[in-house]
């Protein structure tokens, strides 16, 4: 009868393994904190107000805010009213990035957020539930001289959620409303060097388009992209981690196939966990440097979704298999009640993601939150997913409680037990502690923003958290596969006593991983009889 490695390892070796894992963990944190820059950058853009002077403009004329061939600008709208320029002739132009810089595929994605500066005027206030309609086009080019190529063009509606914090009196005219950020554009790959956004706010009084949106003073954009340096560090990490997990996976599976019995459920689940980890690890993102794959964001979401649902299922099954009561499990169908919510919840999130990022593949300006129906639908998906998550955690907490109760029950009798059993339970308790220790940090990812200055070094806390947590999951999966791989060692002196199988303790032991192992079925029966 072969137990898992964790049960057969000496305490000294376990400590060594633990220390090595801790060292790697610290290393993962340090890679992010010391080498990588902060994960993302937000760049502010202030739209230049261009005047579209040509009455019947030919299509696809692009307005450049600066540089050669720049448009006719106006500084303020007072100037525009003096020159009798109408709202429909004003184009807000934003060039991404700012002068003298280039975008790069290493930025991975680009999000743009829209903000209006709206001044309060007693007689021209924002109406309740005002919608703003933007006519927006985005174009790209790869050198500074060629023509712009259109990437997307769309009419979008966004809800203005503004409030005025001071009293609405003449005194306070000219103060700005405080408006919510409007999600504007999301592109899943940054394949080109220069991007140009042309935004119009057409007015049509008959159709009530852009009427009652107050007095707009400025249009501001915030562009968010991943930092090239962070991407490089991230890729390097993935490239290093993929083979490590792959190797331990192969080793693990070989060990299992070497055994005479078929693999038990827990072993299969651990293997599946390894597969999903490798799925995340495989650095397909390298291709995004060469190819314009806009679906990378969506794909990344799906990969993460699969891993997390696998991890959650693993925890449930791990708990269930360690319950140490007399019920027979070892079948996936036993866990449908607990795994069901995970599957359903992640399915909901998948649908939601397809509705948001899936549609963005064709229209980068699309946002499910822009329309009322979309918002309700999205909220419905998220709430259902939330309920599923709550259900899951209730189940999990209950199971954890049960396991701890059983273990502490066993613990009191630990010294009296034989060495094998003691090791087994100590291993269990150890893995439980590891599990709780590892699960906690991920909740506190968002504790702190920015960076710490530490002498001359700047520690990028956010990057450290990202690489640290990513490394942590990898180490977790690695450790699980290593420690729960079947051991070649035997329990030695226990063997004979186990064979006798006449104490009640034996049964509890056999309900864990080892219990399907060939002759254990007989033990079980004999054990049960003995108990009765």
């Amino acid at each position: 009868m072969a137990g898992a490695i964790i049960e057969n390892m000496s305490t000294k070796k376990l400590v060594i393994v633990g220390v090595i894992l801790l060292l790697f963990q610290a290393f993962a944190f340090m890679v992010g904190g010391l080498i990588a820059p902060s994960p993302t950058t937000a760049v502010h853009y202030l739209a230049i107000k261009c005047v579209d002077t040509v009455k019947h403009r030919q299509e696809a004329k692009w307005f450049m805010p600066w540089g050669p061939n720049q448009c006719d600008k106006i500084r303020s709208f007072d100037e525009a009213s003096a020159k009798m320029i109408e709202a429909n002739n004003i184009v807000f132009a934003v060039h991404i990035p700012l002068p003298d810089k280039e975008m790069s595929p290493w930025f991975q994605f680009m999000l743009v957020i829209l903000q209006f500066d709206i001044a309060f005027k007693m007689y021209n206030q924002i109406e309740d539930g005002a919608m703003v309609t933007v006519d927006v086009g985005v174009a790209y080019r790869d050198d500074t001289v060629s023509e712009w190529t259109e990437m997307a063009h769309s009419y979008e509606q966004r809800k203005l959620n503004c409030n005025f914090t001071t009293s609405k009196t003449f005194e306070n005219e000219g103060r700005y409303y405080e408006c919510d950020l409007l999600p504007f554009m999301e592109v899943g790959s940054v394949a080109h060097k220069y991007y140009l956004l042309n935004i119009r706010l057409p007015v049509n009084e008959r159709k009530k388009i852009n009427v009652g949106i107050g007095e707009i003073k400025d249009v501001r954009l915030v562009g968010i992209h991943q930092n090239g340096g962070f991407t490089k560090v991230w890729f390097a990490m993935k490239t290093f981690l993929t083979p490590s997990i792959l190797i331990i996976m192969i080793w693990y599976w070989r060990r299992i196939t070497l055994m005479t019995r078929p693999p038990v459920l827990l072993e299969k689940v651990i293997f599946a966990l390894g597969i999903s980890m490798t799925f995340i690890n495989i650095p397909v993102e390298w291709f995004s440097i060469g190819f314009n794959w806009t679906w990378m964001l969506l794909f990344g979401d799906i990969r993460q979704g699969i891993f997390y649902s696998m991890l959650l299922s693993f925890w449930i099954i791990f708990c269930g298999e360690h319950l140490m009561d007399q019920t027979e499990r070892n079948r996936f169908s036993v866990y449908w009640k607990q795994v069901g919510p995970i599957v359903f919840g992640s399915f909901c999130l998948f649908i939601f993601d397809m509705c948001e990022r899936g549609v963005q593949l064709t229209n980068p300006f699309y946002s499910i939150w822009a329309s009322d129906v979309g918002t309700e639908l999205a909220m419905a998906f998220i709430i259902v997913a939330g309920i599923c998550a709550c259900l899951y955690f209730l189940f999990l907490c209950f199971m954890v409680f049960q396991v701890f109760r059983n273990i502490s029950g066993k613990r009191t009798s630990l010294p009296a037990m034989s060495k094998a059993r003691r090791l087994h339970y100590e291993g269990l308790i150890f893995s439980w502690k590891e599990f709780t220790l590892c699960a906690c940090p991920s909740i506190f990812v968002q504790v702190n923003e920015g960076h710490w200055h530490w002498g001359e070094h700047t520690v990028q806390v956010n990057s450290a958290f990202f690489t640290g947590i990513y490394g942590m999951w990898n180490l977790y999966v690695f450790a699980i596969m290593f420690l729960y791989a079947p051991s070649h060692k035997r329990y030695g002196d226990d063997q004979s006593r186990d064979a006798a199988a006449n104490s009640g303790e034996d049964i509890q032991l056999t309900t864990t991983i080892t219990h399907v192992d060939g002759p254990t079925e007989i033990y079980k029966m004999t054990g049960k009889e003995a108990q009765e």
């Binding site: 937000a42 502010h44 525009a80 810089k101 000219g174 993601d353 923003e449």
Partner: protein, 352 residues
Amino acid sequence: MTEECVLRCALMLCCVLLSANASNWLYLAKLSSVGSIRDEETCERLRGLIHRQVQICKRSVEVMDAVRRGAQLAIDECQFQFRNRRWNCSTLESMPVFGKVVTQGTREAAFVYAISAASVAFAVTRACSSGELEKCGCDHNVHGVSPEGFQWSGCSDNIAYGVAFSQSFVDVRERSKGQSSSRALMNLHNNEAGRKAILAHMRVECKCHGVSGSCEVKTCWKAMPPFRKVGNVIKEKFDGATEVEQRKMGSAKVLVPRNSQFKPHTDEDLVYLEPSPDFCDHDPRTPGMLGTVGRQCNRTSKAIDGCELMCCGRGFQTQQVEVVDRCSCKFHWCCYVKCKQCRKMEEMHTCR
């Protein structure tokens, strides 16, 4: 040797005399005739700049348009904030722009220095994000820039550049003489307080963009407050400004509150050296001291805009005037207003 000494002394004297007019560069706002400042030669012709400022101008010509807009912004904001006070920040067509009012170390001077330092930082930052300037957050001459460049780690915030530029351009006058005179210390302190008014009121905004838009990944940035808000903050500091005097602390000279019972001022507070005049009467010897004769006042108010205080007890005249107002207007978000004209009679009170 003695000749050199005399020369040096004369230079020093010149500097001290000039120092009072450290806000002369605000005159840029009045130079609409110059057009945009494009080449280095224009820098020489700009009135109101001292030599070191001309050098900065030559070194970064592209920023000067923003500086000029900043000067205009400062004047506009000053006039808005002081519209109801006896001194209403009225400008002259000559230098210094505000007349002699700001040459003494008064509260008003403190306000003008603070708002102008803030406005330069503000205008330069704005110019950065609209793409008019090329260096900005990625400029290696400005502190806080990562050495690896835009592609590796992005650039630092534009506000850092705006503030740094304001520091080098606006403060250069005081810095060039060393921090000796109490007036220089006061100006430097108020300039810094003005910039702090922006920095302390930066709005933090965040966007979540993790899996399915969750907050697993969150990016936060700081957005500059609207300038009206900056003006309001500095005006509040003006109302609670501290009167200070220079004292020696070891080898350094520092400004401490004149009344030792007051708690010491912070970096964000305004300080002044002399009490303000009452601004009641027109004084032909002090340019900019226009007095309150002919100013409109509010009859019902008990505050500084009330007729009692505004007219310094000289009384006021009341006239019936016909006001043509716009009413039942239709607005578009830009440039289009269609109104009816409504006429109504109103009482207008003006100071005698």
